[in-house]
Each structure stands twice: as structure tokens, then as C-alpha cells.
Symmetry: C2
Subunit: 143 residues, 2 copies
Amino acid sequence: MWQYKTSVVWKDGKIGESHSSGNLPIEMSTPPDFGGPRNRWSPEQLLTSSVAACIMTTALFFFEKGGVELHSYMSNATGTMEKTSQGLSITKMQIDVTVTSQSAEQEALVRRAMKSAKKNCPISNALKCPVEMRLQVESVEAS
Amino acid sequence: MWQYKTSVVWKDGKIGESHSSGNLPIEMSTPPDFGGPRNRWSPEQLLTSSVAACIMTTALFFFEKGGVELHSYMSNATGTMEKTSQGLSITKMQIDVTVTSQSAEQEALVRRAMKSAKKNCPISNALKCPVEMRLQVESVEAS
């Protein structure tokens, strides 16, 4: 069993700060669409980020296991919230990942590792809504 | 419909950086228990944080609606991950909230607002696992 601890303290207005031992604090607030200021992480952005981060860290595990030599990895993620009969609900996570490996021969390994990452990401699996991934695989040689 | 966008870029080793327009970037990594460095936000801490942050921002909405004059708000949250037959799973979120209002008469209003916040928090509701809240209500007068 693993446990992850964090604290949130209200600062002022719609702004708070999130702490976790040893990490830089994160200033967060209600999203601008709901009356919060700009330039702060909203809970919804943090959630979307946690999914994207978890897919990356899980992928790094499978890249290592599968012998992928990574050149670059980046992803854009979008979390969607909608008004439903149950109130505001997170209805979808879309994640677009671009992975560049060191050689064209590794592209198949990358695809296999990303498939495992998507399937085994504990945070994607913790959500009720679908998590959809689009994957683009490139290599330094081919570009 | 509301959309929340974020990007994650791999930096080196087990470390990445998460961005979202206008916000300070968050350095994140694989948790130390799984081979990552210390002093970075893990995806699991970000998830736990998003739940705690969302309960706070939802509470702020209901405090305003219910006429609560807030003195302070803080919460400690713990996310639990376990190995299950489906692999690593987030099995529980525990959140301990302490709210201090300006006057003892407001304590009932605080309790009602927190009950609504717990029920309506879109991120708690997005998770498959139980989210348990313990609430302590105080007031400046009483302390």
C-alpha cells in the first residue's frame, strides 16, 4: 500500500495553496469561468495534469522495460466538464501524446510500451469517465 | 461545457514538467517509491491535491451562498494506492478539513455548506474510489 499526502490552505478570496512534503507549493483557485482569478491552477487542471503525468511516468516504466531509447516525450491533455443531471461532471479526458525515439526501429517498441502505459496507468483507471489517447510516434532518424 | 488544458513534457530520467496556460509550471516525477527522485510532485500527489482543492473551491461557493464569513480553511488529504487484481489502483481518498468561521452561530452554516461541497465536488464525483471526509468546525469566538 502506498499513501500520498497533501494539504490545502485557503489564502484569500477564491485562492488557496497546495502543499506536499518537500515539493514547491502550488497556488490554486476556482477556475476563472466560476469566478476565480486567472494564472492559478484550477482543481480541474490539476486533475487533467495528474492523468497526463501518470501516463508519462507509467510510459517511462514501460520504455525502460522494453528497451526504448527516448529522445522526447510530450503530451497535450484536455479534461472536459459538463453539466449533467448529477450536477457538474468530468465527462472525458483526451490525451494526445507525441513520442520520439532514437531510431526508427524502436517505433514498434514505443507503440507497445504506450499501449501498456495506457492500460496500466493507475490514475486513468481511477476515473469513471473515458480516457482517450491519440499517439504519434516519431524517431530522430526519420525526422 | 468547460475544458481544461494542460501539457506534460519529459525532461530527463523520471522527471517531467506540467504546463497550463498562464500558470507556473509544476515539476513532476515518478514517485520515490517507484524509482523517482524526491521533491517533485508525483501524479498521485497531484490527484490527491486536485480532490482537496476541488472540495475547497466547491466549499467556497457554498460558503458564499450560505453567508458564511470564513476565518480559515485547511485540509489534509491522503490518497491510497494498492496492488489489486487489476494492477495498481487508487482505492481511497481521505480528507480531513478544519474550517474556522468568524462566529459560533455560523458553525451550523459551515456544516451545511461542507455537506453540499462534499456532495457536489465534481472531482470527488469523477473517481471510482470512495472519498471520505472528516470535518472539524471551529469559530474565532470559541477558540
